[in-house]
């Protein structure tokens, strides 16, 4: 009988001569292996004119190379029963394959090939332009996206986290194949990449094989450093979106520090107490938040029908965001005022020991759920090495364990202050002229 063992207890790591970092761990819960290749490139590395370029490059890496012509990877991986995909966000672009355990070679071949040989043919770039603009239009159909895009744009006036990963429509219309090719050449190098593998294989053997294949790829030039630093915010910022619909939303975003900052874990605990425990990216939003303070104040108080908070570990300082759906007939201002009262309460009074303990128990359970599958284990190994290192991951629960009621009060007083926030209101406009034919 297999005994449960903590994930990430036995992670192997090597750095190859060309700068590629490799993490591997054995996980024998299923006859499956999952490989993730991470590049340190995302929204963070973009500027006006080429916003959305990282995400678009990700799309182009599914368009094929000479060795893996268009559709070939799709066919070969799928017929093995595997899945593969890509993802782009603020600090990273990542590609993964999860496959039957003896088919890892397919993934290694595909990924080593597209680390160097992606093509950016004019006609394919243009065909993908329509797809990406369509993706953006799909987002724009959602009031949540419209509001969030406006709030982050107001919250950041210097740092590139201020635009959405999808990019501005004007940039999506104007960017050329050369822009994409240049971005790819600059950031898709072994020295800017991390490979993470989990599966029912000997990790030393995996590392040896990865070294065999990837060591031949020459080291690239160092990537341009991101020197942009968001200046401290010196007063509340407010934005308003008028849009169709009958439902109103309030969103509040506070600047918070990066993942490796000593206050990040205290803010994680604060969020669990204020708006309910949640994981990061994978496995998030899986537990209810009905005992959280904001649910009690806003939803039990019949000012909002739902409320959620979120923060994510990032390389540079990020945002702690709270979003509430306004109760039908209630006013934005009332929701905002009640929410501010709850924030003030965190400044004035310490949270209870029981609240802290509950937040820690939730974090422990969520961590167990979100690292249950082999794919998610490999995800975490790679993701954590983007914004910190695997120590951040393996010490995550003990770091939370150390958080005290004083820490929570201190970070509330430091970061959750009016001068440091951006408030957004989505105002639904009626009457409607909706028709059906």
């Amino acid at each position: 009988m297999n005994k449960p063992h903590p994930p990430f207890a036995d992670v192997r790591y090597v750095a190859l001569d060309n700068g590629l970092k490799v993490f591997a761990q054995r996980s024998a819960t299923a006859p499956v292996v999952s490989l993730w290749v991470w590049y340190r490139v995302g929204t963070r590395n973009e500027h006006p004119g080429i916003t959305g370029v990282s995400h678009w490059v990700e799309h182009m890496l599914f368009k094929g190379t000479d060795r893996w012509p268009s559709g070939r990877a799709d066919q070969v991986i799928s017929r093995e029963g595997g899945v593969y995909n890509g993802m782009t966000w603020q600090d990273f672009t990542t590609y993964y394959e999860t496959l039957p355990v003896d088919r890892l070679e397919l993934a290694l071949d595909l990924e080593s090939d597209r680390m160097q040989n992606a093509a950016f043919r004019e006609e394919e770039v243009n065909s993908e332009r329509t797809v990406i603009i369509s993706e953006r239009q799909g987002h724009e159909n959602s009031p949540h996206f419209l509001l969030s895009e406006e709030v982050i744009a107001a919250a950041y006036r210097v740092h590139p986290y201020g635009h959405e990963t999808i990019g501005h429509l004007c940039d999506l219309r104007a960017m050329t194949a050369d822009d994409l090719q240049r971005h790819y050449a600059m950031y898709y190098t072994p020295n800017n990449a991390v490979i993470a593998v989990a599966g029912a294989l000997d990790p030393d053997v995996i590392i040896e094989r990865i070294a065999d294949i990837f060591e031949a790829i020459p080291k690239g030039r160092p990537v341009p450093p991101v020197h942009l630093v968001e200046p401290p915010q010196r007063g509340e910022r407010r934005v308003q979106i008028n849009g169709a619909g009958q439902t109103n939303y309030v969103q509040i975003a506070y600047h918070i520090p990066q993942a490796v900052h000593e206050d990040f874990h205290a803010l994680t605990v604060l969020n669990a107490i204020l708006s309910g425990g949640s994981g990061f990216i994978v496995g998030r939003g899986r537990i209810t938040n009905y005992t959280s303070r904001l649910y009690g104040a806003l939803v039990e108080g019949e000012l909002a029908v739902s409320v959620h908070g979120s923060l994510a570990p990032t390389v540079d300082p990020g945002l702690y965001t709270i979003i509430a759906t306004v109760w039908p007939g209630r006013a934005h201002a009332d929701v905002e005022a009640r929410l501010s009262e709850e924030i003030d309460r965190l400044h004035q009074e310490k949270v209870t020991q029981e609240e802290i303990e509950q937040a820690k128990r939730q974090a422990k359970a969520l961590f167990a759920f979100s690292s249950e599958s082999i794919s998610h284990q490999a995800f975490w190994l790679g993701f954590s090495s983007i914004f910190a290192d695997t120590d951040w991951l393996t010490s995550y629960l003990t770091s939370l364990e150390r958080i005290t009621v004083e820490d929570v009060q201190r970070v509330a007083q430091t970061y959750l202050i009016p001068d440091n926030r951006t408030v957004g209101w989505y105002l639904a406009q009626t009457p409607q002229r909706q028709t059906t034919r």
Binding site: N2, K3, P4, A28, T29, A30, P31, V32, F62, G71, Q75, I77, S78, R79, E80, G81, G82, V83, P100, V101, D102, L104, E105, D109, N126, S127, T130, V131, I132, S134, Q137, G138, E140, N141, L201, R209, G245, Q246, T247, G276, G277, R286, I287, T288, N289, Y290, T291, V305, S306, P328, R361, A365, F369, E372, Q429, Q432, R433, Q434, T436, R437
Partner: protein, 443 residues
């Protein structure tokens, strides 16, 4: 391509087949009250998952009370005779666990998840909400506000509106699939506390209900805990209407819904399809994999998204399920490309009907369906989902082990036959939800 020189001996598919759940490692027990228990151990996991269903759903609603089943299910989770709303969630959230109840057409599905030692508490909470809901007045109004908000959000959501209108077109008014499970503002406003109480009393009972437990817990121990929580549940439900068949479409039915302030169009094209128990379901499932699932969404994805760059997403699915759930194609497209997209979709339908798929295409899809089984069964949730389906559709405990030969037995002729039988490019239900400006002057 080179095989990995350091790979471990043995064929992955053999290895995975040996570890597939089957009659020798699933505990199945039926209680005298009609509840069936299924348990599968997974001691590699520190967690436990509960999943199951009760035979109560929108099928049991009367027309003037559409949305009643879902409303009832939501309020059942808001307080019981043993626990107030706060106590219910304090017990569960304080240990990082979670539970929920979700009502569909024929069943109300429940689920819970926590660390393995929380199983007794989670079963007790589920028994509480399913057997002893208290329908607190204040919670009813909160749930009503949530549903009304959700309905209002739906009215301004192109994807959801396209789907809503599709079901109205594809199914006649006397079929439950015609109607929204969420209900309508008028019916939701009219539902009273008495309606909720009566709906629960009449329809929620252990008869033919199923409860599955998967995770780091011994099978016999888990079964005993389920029996402890549900063994003395003796309520029997009122007789229910049977699921009616859905007539095939004999004409083209089109809905174009315009929504203000939108930039993308959403499109659904489809027909009533085979139920899960229909002998055509598996051939349809394989045909659909070729058509709109395999790799980057099959032929539809390859030709309409990849080749023409016309859609952000396009895929197809055949639902199966307890009734004649739809076989449908879903797409998100630029408003200017709706008509061209629709025309290309119809070309692909005709190609699937007129020309047999190649042996290679069929083999690829079969290989995907059989090879991906271990991935679907990687988590406790995945195993629990499979066991619930096995019990619900009477597939047999060794279904997962017979799945591979069953998929491989499908021929290119089967694919063509079911495409001709179930798809029809001239008689289809087409629902489009699109931005206002674009549709002006059209149709």
């Amino acid at each position: 391509m080179n095989r990995m020189r350091c790979s471990q001996p043995g064929d992955s598919k053999q290895a995975s087949r040996a570890s597939l759940p089957g009659s020798d490692d699933i505990l199945r027990k039926q209680l005298p009250n009609g509840l069936t228990i299924l348990v599968r151990e997974n001691f590699a996991s520190p967690a436990v998952v509960i999943s199951g269903y009760i035979n109560a759903g929108a099928l049991d609603e009367s027309p003037e009370r559409y949305g009643l089943a879902g409303f009832t299910g939501d309020v059942m989770q808001r307080g019981t005779r043993n626990r107030t709303f706060r106590q219910l969630y304090a017990d569960v959230e304080s240990i990082g666990a979670t539970f929920g109840l979700n009502t569909a057409t024929t069943t109300s599905s429940f689920a819970a998840k926590g660390l393995a030692d929380s199983l007794p508490l989670l079963l007790d909470v589920l028994a509480d909400i399913l057997r002893r809901p208290s329908f607190p007045e204040r919670q009813i109004e909160k749930v009503r506000a949530e549903i009304v908000t959700d309905l209002q959000e739906r009215r301004h959501d192109t994807r959801r509106m396209a789907s809503l209108r599709f079901y109205e077109l594809a199914y006649p008014k006397d079929h439950p699939y015609h109607w929204s499970q969420l209900g309508y503002e008028s019916t939701i406003h009219a539902i009273t506390r008495e309606d909720l109480i009566t709906f629960h009393q009449d329809n929620f009972g252990p008869e033919d209900a199923v409860i599955v437990v998967v995770g780091g817990i011994q099978m016999s121990e888990a079964a005993a805990m389920v029996e402890e929580a549900f063994g003395d549940w003796e309520t029997s439900r009122v007789p229910r209407a049977s699921m009616p068949p859905a007539p095939p479409l004999t004409e083209r039915r089109t809905s174009r819904e315009t929504l203000e302030d939108k930039t993308q169009s959403n499109l659904v094209v489809g027909w009533p399809g085979p139920s899960r128990r229909h002998p055509d379901f598996i051939p349809c499932y394989v045909a659909n994999t070729i058509f709109g699932t395999f790799g980057m969404y099959g032929r539809l994805g390859t030709n309409i998204r990849e080749r023409h760059g016309l859609a952000y997403y396009i895929y197809s699915r055949v639902d199966g399920g307890p009734g004649p759930g739809p076989w449908r194609i879903l797409a998100g497209v630029n408003p200017a490309n709706v008509d061209q997209g629709l025309s290309l979709i119809r070309d692909e339908i005709r190609r699937l009907q007129d020309t047999p798929v190649s042996d290679e295409e069929l083999a690829d899809s079969q290989s995907y369906l059989t090879g991906s089984l271990p991935l679907h069964l990687e988590t406790n949730e995945g195993v629990a989902r499979s066991l619930v389906n096995i019990e619900r559709h009477g597939l047999g405990l060794d279904y997962l082990r017979t799945y591979q030969p069953m998929i491989r037995a499908i021929t290119t002729e089967d694919v063509q036959r079911v495409a001709q039988q179930w798809l029809d490019a001239d008689h289809d239900a087409v629902s489009i939800a699109e931005p206002e400006a674009v549709s002006e002057g059209k149709s």
